[in-house]
Amino acid sequence: MLTRDGIAYRVARDLPEGAYVNLGIGIPFLVTSYLAPDREIFIHSENGILGVGPVAERGKEDPDLVNASKDYITLLPGSSVFDHALSFTMIRGGHLTHAVIGAIEVAANGDLANWRVPGQKVPGVGGAMDIAVGIENLYVAMTHTTNKGQSKILTKCTCPLTAPACVKRIYTDMGLIDVTPEGLVLREVAPGLTPLAVEKATAAPLRVADDCRQMDVPPTFNGVGLLQ
């Protein structure tokens, strides 16, 4: 099993040179710490920033510079700032190449539910629905199961949908799963796990790829000891 940082590390390995990436809050935001230094990758923040840099050092925060999580951030060389209409033109118009987003549930056909849990008293949606319909490579980064041990990958979502059939790939603490027209395909398993263990933890049909392999992550991201 991977730690939260381990999931973020694995996602970061898949972001290519020249990617323009929107990152959600939670595990997705951790991806910024593991971007390959030899690749130029631009991080987009929905409040009108392209080229988000590291979080600002304490005492050096700029009050006019926050990201979508309201962290005080810095800008990288080549960054730009703009208004919300242009920011969502980038998102909805398909100009960003990748999004990494958290999820409450993902269905086998790529349906995403990540904005409202049943019984939640005050709802909020933010930019999730725009990101889900507008960004081609929509990657989910999440724990495989709830803290009660129930699979977050289902045949059909039970929570209200963010968008139908939009997720392309799922990164969890147990493995890497592609959403294909033929259903879910397990590509990689976390260190120490078997494909069978991932199948058992998944409440949707899961085909194990012929070339399914163990995930290549440094041992520091192996969270078995931490989680058990």
Binding site: S45, E46, N47, G48, I49, E61, D62, P63, D64, L65, V66, K70, Y72, L75, V81, F82, D83, H84, A85, S87, F88, I91, R92, R116, Q120, K121, V122, P123, G124, V125, G126, G127, A128, M129, D130, V133, G134, P160, L161, T162, A163, P164
Partner: protein, 235 residues
């Protein structure tokens, strides 16, 4: 001579009436017109419809309007973060209604109003609860939902610099909703950190041309907004 400047936020918000629809710029803290909101709280107008991305922080600035029970309805995309305590209380008591709008749809509805458009079709929200009951149209084989324009009686915006003509320049992430809201209300009021002589802002630097602006007030930054550590410090 055109002079859109006013001396105080109180004068600028004096005509906001009971039942008015008021757009409020800002995302997080950058670009929130905290001094104008404070003046509106003091001015007393009530039964307001507020259009803003979030729902304010605690009981100051926009949060203060919720605390005082002055907002009949909020139109927002993300009102459910932990520090939106005053809105949360009013919403759960049933005092304030919420119209939840996806963020990209919210800004585009405002943009449509400002641009004189009758609405637009978007893929955002199709197949979800937020498109329930709305018109769906298939364009090039894909379903889109129809969204209507969103305008207001007043817009309260914030910029870094302005001149007496109402030309505005923003800094970094202050821009967010402000330039778009400035196009979509009958009366647009800007609070700015610095008033400069006409000509100081170069044509290339002006993000909101003065044609959109009715009033400009120079202010000091709101003391409780824009302070990264105030919550930890317990102030």
């Amino acid at each position: 001579m055109i002079n859109k400047t006013l001396a105080t936020c109180g004068e600028a918000v004096a005509n906001i009436f009971d039942g008015a629809t008021v757009m409020v710029g800002g995302f997080g803290e950058p670009g929130v017109p905290g001094r104008l909101i404070e003046a509106l709280r003091e001015q007393g107008a009530t039964n307001l419809v507020v259009i803003h991305n979030g729902a304010g922080f605690h009981d100051f600035a926009l949060g203060g309007l919720f605390k005082d029970g002055r907002v009949r309805k909020l139109v927002a995309s993300f009102p459910n973060y932990p520090s939106a305590t005053a809105f949360r209380d009013r919403y759960l008591k049933g005092d304030t209604e919420l119209e939840l709008v996806p963020q990209g749809t919210l800004i585009e509805r405002i943009r449509a109003a400002g641009a004189g458009l009758g609405g637009f079709y978007t893929r955002t929200g199709v197949g979800t609860d937020l498109a329930a009951g709305k018109e769906i149209r298939v364009i090039d084989g894909r379903p889109y939902v129809f969204e209507t324009p969103l305008n207001a009686d007043f817009a309260l915006v914030k910029a870094e610099r302005a001149d007496r003509l109402g030309n505005l320049a923003y800094r970094y992430a202050m821009r967010n909703f402000n330039p778009i809201m400035a196009t979509a209300a009958k009366t647009v009021i800007a609070e700015v950190e610095k008033l400069v002589p006409v000509g100081t802002l170069k044509p290339d630097e002006i993000h909101t041309p003065g044609v959109f602006i009715d009033h400009v007030v120079e202010i000091d930054r709101h003391p409780r907004l824009f302070e990264p550590h105030y919550e930890e410090a317990g102030t």
